[in-house]
Amino acid sequence: MTDVTLKINGETRSASVPPETTLLKMLRENFNLTGAKLGCDIGDCGACTVIIDGKSVNSCLMLAGQVDGREVLTIEGLATPDHLHPIQKTFEDCASLQCGFCGPGVIMSAKALLDDNPNPSVVEIRDALAGNLCRCTGYTKMIQAVQEASKVMRSDTVRRLAKTNG
């Protein structure tokens, strides 16, 4: 067994898992975080995307042991009981998802993009979402939602800075 201690959505958690356990399997089965989806299990579809130390990764391609001591953000870590994350809100407002299976992965890829590049071009958004397959939507309304979220998040940042600067 491999002992893993990591920070998930800001909370320190531990598990003891067989060494071949993927991060995705540990998230879903040990921690009951089922937002990251098991799609292809070979890194093609992106439905299992989570953010590790600021980078979006396919959690089906990482072993649980590899994230020992690291920080993982999953879709469950975005919203508070009162507020959706701006990306989740704009995905809702733009009707960006249909069946929704790819949704958590797409939103995590968008989050990693916007954290790194607050004002991405359409090409940069397309590039960031290219690892997340969607059979329903044609991606069009997702790209719109990421553009909208980038506006909302930038104006939120401006407001926050204005507040702290008095």
Partner: protein, 348 residues
Amino acid sequence: MKKRGRGIACMWYPIGFTVAANPSAAVVKVNEDGTATLLTGTVETGQGSLTVLGQIVAEELGIATDDVHVVSADTDTTPMDTGAIASRTTYVTGNASRLAAEKAKEILFQVAAPMLGVKPEQLEARDRKIQVKNYPQRSIGIGEVANQAQFVMGQPALGSASFNPPTVALDPATGQGKPFATYVYATQIADVDVDDETGEVEVLRIVAAHDCGTAINPMLVEGQIEGGISMGVGFALQEEMLFDKNGKQLNPNLTNYIMPTSLDMPEIEVDIVKNFDPTGPFGAKGVGEPTAVPTAAAIMNAIYDAVGARVYSLPATPERVLAAIKAARAKKLPKPKRKETQKRIAAH
């Protein structure tokens, strides 16, 4: 060199089954708090059909979409539905839902008429009220009417209805008949770049004009069209199931069955054509499958416009497009004239 081309393709598509029975049924109950409950057997798969059915019931009862509680796809409680297939849900299940709501509304009108001192046919359901037509100040809240219906009149405000699209079987001798109750129409235009040295095709933009009758929820209609176009782009350029001679699939996973990603998608412009079908719920028809029908044809026509080559086998992979370009060029080369050939032979 990259060559630009534009192609256009049109289609019609039927809603519902070909002649065969494909009924839907619905039950609508108006509750004493002014909300309504819809029981339907149809399945939500992300296309938004339950939202649309809720909107249809809300419109019929003059209440808000949020006031309609939709219970779906539970064989313990809901009527059987033929299915979320044949682009039929909005039209067929929508008609059944509207008819069921209309029946519940008729009971509300009968109950409200003596309360307002008018005849039932002078009433309308609007703004969560049953009111006298043209006299909105003479009204009673829909919940109060439902309460009166239940507890005073002993006639609960319920309606159930079914709808099966009217068709006429095809005559085996003449082929004549009316196979479907209604049809939708669409045109898509594709702009592409074709590299005539590599055969690579890039779809730059697709403009899609679709008739779906009344678009009950335009945002969902757009979503269906954009999704259909992505399937059409995959069908045109990328997606192919490959089999070996024993029938075993060679590309059974997403590593080698190549479907469109966000980088493969063109810019899409959707135009919802204004239309009204008197046989549909509030004029609506359908939009699901037809969205993917004309895309590949428009792209193939655009390839022809760009490089003068016809591709007859999908997907139009770079290899196939390049082969078609070479074949088109070979056809264009002037054939040696017979006399000249004979002269040359004679000279030898």
